[in-house]
Symmetry: C2
Subunit: 306 residues, 2 copies
């Protein structure tokens, strides 16, 4: 692990790819690797891009990466597909992007897909971002398909979240749940040259008007990802958006989740509680599972807490 850590810290992209496989798949050595690279990490600019299918997210992400690159920065693109046993979407997106950037070592592209990890994909993406920062990437774009709660959890690992909408969306966005408003730091009205753009902007403004006074109102940026129009302005808006949450709050949740997962591991094997026996009694109808959980948790509390 030490050699791999050194390779990553030197910016060796093959070492980075190996490190990413380890943390994505929760292979042994991952925690050790993360601990070893953490001190040398430099916080990157993290841009989250999400939205319904078909609005041009991939093209927009491509343009953002090119713009960041033209400023001389190294850029990571994480295309995250938390799920979908039914489609191969993430793979397709990569192929298209690779054609554009394949000679450019300053753009590092990675797809991350769910493999049924315990705790979901968000912790693996979080660990992946840590490695990208350790490898010296100064900006990372995190793209998700925006169709699930898990996507929402993941895209919020970014400092700034752009929700992309377009006149081609079809459904009236008022059908969209309140979830959009909670995650959007800014709205991108892509394909702004198409009919329906003004009406869509009115609808977005109507949603924004529901935000209580005193809370920040997300700006709306118009873009045409195909031509590149509006992308420079979008990047400027991302850079000047206020921080999503205080960093200490992020770390507090991080610690609680990771410690919780460690403890859950021992509960099964080492705590002295006979889970197998209890499970068999429940299956036999001889034990109430909810009563068992309540009483066991209570007795652990009494035993463990000061």
């Amino acid at each position: 692990m030490q050699r791999l850590a050194e390779g990553i810290l030197c910016g060796d992209l093959r070492a980075l790819a190996r490190g990413l496989s380890i943390v994505e798949n929760r292979l042994p050595g991952g925690a050790e690797l993360l601990a070893a690279v953490h001190p040398a990490r430099r916080k990157a600019l993290r841009i989250g891009v999400t939205g319904p299918p078909g609005v041009g997210k991939s093209t927009l992400v491509d343009r953002l990466a090119a713009e960041l690159r033209s400023a001389g920065e190294t850029v990571g693109v994480l295309a995250v597909d938390p799920s979908s046993p039914f489609t191969g979407g993430a793979v397709l997106g990569d192929r298209v992007r690779m054609q554009r950037h394949h000679r450019d070592d300053g753009v590092f592209i990675r797809s991350m897909a769910s493999r049924g990890q315990l705790g979901g994909l968000a912790p693996a993406v979080d660990d992946g971002l840590a490695l990208l920062e350790a490898a010296g990437l100064r900006s990372v774009v995190i793209e998700t398909a925006g169709v699930g709660q898990s996507e929402v959890d993941i895209v919020q690992l970014a400092g700034t979240v752009a929700v992309v909408l377009a006149p081609s969306m079809g459904d009236d966005i008022q059908a969209a749940k309140a979830g959009i408003m909670e995650i959007a730091d800014l709205f991108v009205l892509n394909k702004a040259d198409q009919p329906g753009a003004d009406e869509l902007e009115r609808q977005i403004l109507a949603m924004i008007s529901l935000i209580p006074d005193g809370q920040p109102r997300p700006p709306i940026l118009r873009t045409c990802a195909l031509s590149g129009e509006g992308v420079v302005e979008l990047l400027a808006a991302v850079r000047s958006a206020p921080a999503r949450q205080p960093e200490a709050l992020y770390w507090r949740r991080f610690l609680q989740e990771r410690l919780g997962r460690e403890v859950e591991d021992w509960l099964a094997s080492d705590s002295g509680i006979d889970l197998e026996g209890a499970a068999e009694q429940i299956a036999a109808g001889a034990l109430n599972p909810y009563v068992f959980v309540r009483e066991t948790a209570q007795s652990l509390r009494t035993r463990w807490l000061p």
Copy 2:
């Protein structure tokens, strides 16, 4: 809670609806309610129905419910939408179904959608199923859209999972990830009267041929949900499918997850570990978060375990 429990056990559907709101939203009293009704639960036939959008799942679920009802049974339909801040799909499905069954008290229809619960929607669905069984429903159909890992987790709460495909799917199912094979107890080839049905069946058979010898091979049932053809045979196949996993294994995972969640709650507030202080130190660059998690987990182990 005791009165609400009694209402549910008497089959009062309004009490059931109230109980479901409590467990879905993790409101106080949920655990008490579940403990109170558990002893009187009778295991229901649980049928999971999943698949990509557009294959006719809702129509098929509707037909299954009608068939179960015609046999004199009370039926529950849970339409689960774990996510999607961007669409209102679950609501639409309900409206269509309600028109068909609204005069029939023997069919209870419920949509469950993610509200960002900690731990995801699967535990809430699990608790919901417990209440449906306590209310005396003898069969439950769990329908998910099949687009995410969370959907896979949820649909596996059913005893038997039917993966629905149709010639209208468009994408070659070879683009589908291995996830389908892991969850399918049987395949339903819906819209079997349409062109492309034979080719689709060949593709499904090709996937099935990859299953190692000794492991069960899912049958393929052809249906036309619109006409109802094949639905009686489908129900028979569901009833005769082997159990997904031993019941004790299900309860063991249940206990581990629920106990783990209790402990995670105390870690934040009562364990004597200063998570806030550690988070601030990490944000200031003065503490390595991965080292902190490792050392704290180790010291808890030493303190707590026998």
